[in-house]
Subunit: 191 residues, 2 copies
């Protein structure tokens, strides 16, 4: 999605430790008009797959997932990174390493919200090493639901997570794929 | 909003410790069609207030805020509950007690996303004792921005946070106001 690549170049900031900051439109401030455009693009890609639910992980994925859901007209379910008093009953758990927090999380979702009859589209803002995506995929499998694919805003392709999942048969569609970010210069796969 | 009260009665579950679970449509699974209706109601209430940004707190508020933003056509900014590597530069901080996690959080937002020229509408899913709302309000004040008001999905009126903020001059509009929840029976203020 050319408009996303242009926005990353215009507004994104790189920082030490291989960090790409897109807080001005995706991570902390959400440019909701632009996120709707990304949602429409996910819909174009997955509209024939009879998606019944969009599945994401707190926190930055939720806005994008909800705006995409306005096109699919399905509910959004988000996995939580910690157990809280407002989740009850049986849950699915999966381990995920958080790249931005540099810690291990156990992500949690109530069993009642991911059903064997569901056709799940995973949506997330970032895909790097692929740990969050692995955790979400493993929950979809545990539930016996059908995984339609994953729609990602920004993939750091050089970190390998996306291609690992593709090799495992997951349809991963990323709206912007970054080939390299060395020295603060962002190069996209289709440059 | 009668439709929300009916949905709470139909789908909500009460639990020990004064907990109301609305995970089926607001907290874990988001009924995006219904959340859009709530967003439209916030727009009806605040459409003449020249809102420039919607401000919320991760995680459950984000979906509702983004869907409401499709009517206001403004960006959403969300405060984070922990500092991560993708926030840089100067930040505003405020202390908040989390009711569902039973812990103290320091919430954080980059100074660049709340400006003195902004007219802020706070949106959140729950208002009980009002600690999260206090933290959000204090950040808006620190930034020198104008607080237009707060749009809340569900207020537990008997916990006093909403009325405390109203007494302090904040316009708090709650789509469902719960007067009592004793013995698992939910009574609304307009019952």
């Amino acid at each position: 999605m050319k408009a996303l690549e242009e926005k990353i170049i215009r507004e994104g900031k790189t920082a030490a430790g291989d960090v790409l900051m897109v807080g001005s439109f995706l991570n902390q401030q959400i440019d909701t008009g632009f996120a709707l455009e990304m949602g429409k693009e996910f819909y174009r890609l997955f509209k024939d797959d009879n998606v019944t639910k969009i599945f994401t992980i707190e926190a930055s994925g939720i806005g994008l997932a909800c705006l995409a859901a306005t096109f699919f007209r399905v509910p959004v379910v988000f996995a939580k990174k910690s157990k809280t008093s407002n989740i009850s009953g049986e849950v699915y758990n999966a381990a995920a390493h958080s790249y931005t927090h540099n810690c291990e999380n156990t992500i949690t979702v109530s069993k009642e919200y991911i059903l064997p009859t569901d056709r799940i589209l995973i949506i997330d803002d970032f895909l790097a090493a692929g740990s969050s995506l692995s955790a979400l995929v493993s929950i979809v499998k545990s539930a016996g639901a059908t995984l339609v694919g994953a729609g990602i805003a920004i993939e750091k392709e050089y970190q390998g997570g996306g291609n690992l999942h593709r090799k495992n048969g997951v349809r991963v569609e990323s709206l912007a794929k970054i080939r390299s970010m060395s020295g603060g210069k962002i190069v996209f796969c289709d440059d």
